[in-house]
Symmetry: C2
Subunit: 241 residues, 2 copies
């Protein structure tokens, strides 16, 4: 909530609302809950249609709102993409950082972090697909210059997010719960990407697994922790919690 308020304060003050007479509608646009609905609809449209093919019209139609209500807040499809990514990444980063800072063994924090990330991917698949499209460079091809810069900043934040996993792997190796002496930067990249597995699963698989997100998150985390080199004893301890 605090974040939404800050963002509103950052908006250019001089810009008048498109339809001054429609006060009720504008008030609704300013409302955090409506913003959340816009971002969810946008992630859904961007991930199913592809960013380049998607339009603000479709996002509005998905919401049952008029185009004007969405354009009141976002001047372009690129601005909307950036807000989807910033908002989604900020939310999961805050939760990940909280786990990383716990006073527990590193392997326990890494297991918690992996389970959190995998569960978020399964539950907010549209968001994570949109984010992947934005950070792997595809979306940038259809954006304006300042939006490309904003997207580059998001890609950096995503790398900082991934680096939390790398540091937890290093800490767990220092505590002898994972093998040491390895290229941890590469291992961290592979580790997070393995948790991102559902991004490439076809619609039939996703449909088949619906309602099993906790189980899938656990299986993904188990695979990744094992892949990083945890012993059977460590796996048993960490996954019997």
């Amino acid at each position: 909530m605090a974040r939404a308020t800050r963002r509103d304060a950052d908006k250019p003050k001089g810009r008048p609302p498109r339809r001054e007479r429609n006060f009720a509608a504008i008030r609704e646009v300013e409302d955090g809950e409506f913003r959340r609905r816009i971002l969810a609809a946008a992630a859904e449209i961007f991930s199913t249609r592809g960013f380049a093919a998607a339009s603000i019209d479709e996002v509005a139609k998905r919401l049952g709102a008029t185009k004007g209500l969405v354009y009141h807040r976002y001047r372009s499809k690129g601005e909307l993409l950036i807000d989807v990514c910033e908002d989604g990444l900020a939310a999961i980063t805050a939760r990940l950082a909280a786990i990383a800072e716990r006073r527990e063994r590193a392997i326990t924090r890494l297991t918690g972090a992996a389970t959190l990330h995998a569960g978020d991917v399964v539950e907010r698949l549209d968001l994570h697909r949109t984010l992947a499209g934005a950070t792997c460079g595809t979306a940038a091809a259809s954006l304006a210059g300042d939006e490309v810069a904003a997207l580059a900043a998001i890609a950096e934040k995503r790398q900082a997010y991934d680096a939390i996993f790398t540091r937890l792997i290093e800490a767990a190796a220092a505590e002898r719960d994972l093998p040491s002496g390895r290229d941890t930067a590469m291992l961290g990249r592979i580790f997070v990407a393995a948790l991102d597995a559902p991004l490439t699963w076809p619609p039939a698989t996703i449909a088949e697994l619906s309602g099993k997100s906790d189980l899938i998150a656990r299986q993904l985390a188990y695979f990744a922790i094992r892949g990083a080199g945890a012993s059977d004893t460590t796996l048993m301890e960490e996954f019997s919690r």
Copy 2:
């Protein structure tokens, strides 16, 4: 080569070439090498721009060819996408099947299969990104009805490809080189997706790792085989070859 010939035979016979006088150009279009260049350029454009935003014009420009030369073979962007995916998937499936049928322990074949797939992802990243976009449902939103059906057939072939890994995991478990009694369908899905990790890596990471594709393929395969539950002894045996 045999495959290209079969496809040509399948083409409707009655359709006249766009520019009958340009015989040399048409002969070049029919040439397998030129088809290969079209498919590589298309994969590059589709993966960097996103399928929906890409155009046949851009593919032709990337090739330094005229639009007509590409349209002579492909009536639409969708047809081109389908040929990119069919051709790319057929090539890697043939290589994977050859490994899967070897007279070796299943864990050795699984290691070979994983290394092959990971190496192919790193070396033909554009193709694999295009394929992932096609099979995870995004591209279908901007295709005609018969193209959607062709894409569904490709998604099925991709699932059959992934199932080769699942069967090798099952065989390795039966030979006691991997733990048994697990949900191997899910494990197979996670296993292949982990090897697909480079799909979501940002351009900076891809650039940084350029020229190290063998090393990356080995690290990805090692992570996945370990994630599937191979013991340290098995890993040492398989990766010291």
